[in-house]
């Protein structure tokens, strides 16, 4: 078979095997039709985790570091996948829903806030998400550094650069230059490229059956959007703030009305950036996981087949969404940078 046909066949098989993550848990006829198991499966895919669970029973324990009146460190194997109450430095802790909760020796939480137990003050463990982010950063660094070094010898790309060069040029020509302008786009290119490939690669990783959901975590998208915000503030010219609070070219009463709205806009724009990525990815994963889990609910094979097909198409759509969200995030960031670095035009009556 030609390479093209092989690639098609391979990707088809991969996509169809996405529900393979469920093979680990056998599904007998439980009293509640396995609903608890399905919830567990969906939750495992969505939440962060203190172990790195690969397949079946193979999982890698990760270091757990937190601050609870003093820094503590342990390996998460002491928690044994959340079943045991561990004693660390004299105090007892247990892990529930990926949070570390100080408890007494028998496992009851020390304090409750309403329905939720109090967690430790600061939890900076190396959890699954952190490991994946670090891996992706190393991968991106290795990939693009290799490309850059290659360009010093020969302008013609080789190997993986053949795939990534059009993408890099796409970010420069379609996202950066139209929004920021030819004068200033260079200093933003580093961030735009990084964020574009970071979000795209991580979204794609989230679609594999490994159950790694990084951008569906509001803390991570908040960090990305905060970076956009800081870069906008840091590289903004003085005219940026002047234009926000005193927009040129409109009559004075309008200016006074516009000022608070624009001020709100400064906060809302990164917030929308954050929510957009987070909700898109998280909702997509929830729907996909639910449909895959429903497959195991029905006994009728026709229904199972129908849901398998539906999950296949949803997976395809999720692939598109992975790219689209990366593109939209980068483009809106470029838009904000462009607004920040706008030159001061002299006011003309050009309407």
């Amino acid at each position: 078979m030609s390479i093209k046909k092989l690639t098609h066949l391979f990707s088809l098989t991969l996509l169809l095997l996405a529900p393979a993550g469920l093979f680990a848990s056998e599904n007998a006829a439980h009293s509640d039709n396995g609903a608890a198991e399905r919830k567990e499966y969906i939750k495992h895919h969505l939440l962060d985790n203190h172990d790195f669970h690969i397949i079946g029973n193979i999982s890698m324990p990760l270091p757990v570091l937190f601050w609870d009146e003093g820094a503590h460190m342990a390996m998460s194997s002491v928690f044994e996948h959340g079943t045991k109450v561990a004693e660390i430095d004299g105090k007892f802790y247990k892990i529930e829903h990926a949070k570390i909760i100080p408890t007494d020796a028998s496992g009851t939480p020390l304090e409750m806030h309403g329905e939720h137990p109090r967690e430790v003050a600061i939890d900076y463990s190396i959890t699954k998400n952190v490991v994946v982010i670090m891996l992706v950063c190393v991968l991106m660094f290795w990939l693009f550094r290799g490309m850059a070094k290659n360009y010093q010898q020969d302008l013609v790309p080789k190997g993986a650069a053949k795939f990534f060069e059009p993408l890099v040029l796409f970010v420069r020509d379609e996202i950066a230059i139209p929004n920021i302008g030819k004068k200033h786009y260079k200093k933003y290119m580093g961030f735009l490229l990084s964020v574009f490939f970071f979000i795209w690669i991580i979204n794609l990783i989230g679609l594999t059956p490994l159950g790694i959901n990084v951008t569906g975590n509001i803390a991570i998208t908040a960090a990305l959007s905060l970076m956009t915000l800081f870069i906008t503030f840091y590289t903004s010219k003085s005219t940026y703030w002047a234009h926000i609070f005193w927009m040129p070219g409109v009559p004075v009463p309008m200016k006074i009305i516009l000022a608070p709205i624009e001020l709100l806009g400064v906060i809302i724009k990164p917030f929308a950036l954050l929510i957009r990525l987070y909700a898109n990815i998280k909702a997509g994963h929830i729907v996909l996981m639910s449909i895959i889990a429903i497959m195991y609910l029905f006994e009728n094979w026709g229904a199972k087949g129908a849901f398998l097909g539906l999950s296949f198409f949803l997976n395809l759509i999720e692939l598109l969404v992975a790219f689209l969200q990366a593109y939209i995030f980068t483009m809106l960031s470029a838009l904000y940078f462009g607004a920040a670095s706008e030159e001061h035009h002299h006011e003309e009556a050009h309407h």
Partner: protein, 63 residues
């Protein structure tokens, strides 16, 4: 009597669907009138759709 959350979610979906549908429709009209500008229109359509979806998700999140 509190209105159940799901009714709110349904309204949000109607709003977002209407918005994106309108944009998609106008975009198609634009492309039909001027096939050469298809790329630019498509880009603009995707941007607008993403913005609307952003609001939709934010609201869905709150509901």
């Amino acid at each position: 009597m509190a209105i159940p959350n799901i009714v709110g979610a349904g309204l949000i979906v109607i709003g977002a669907g209407l918005g994106i549908g309108l944009i998609g429709g106008k975009a198609m009209e634009g492309i039909a009138r001027n096939p050469e500008a298809a790329n630019k229109i498509q880009t603009a359509m995707l941007i607008a759709a993403a913005l609307i979806e952003g609001i939709g998700f934010a609201a869905l999140f709150a509901a």
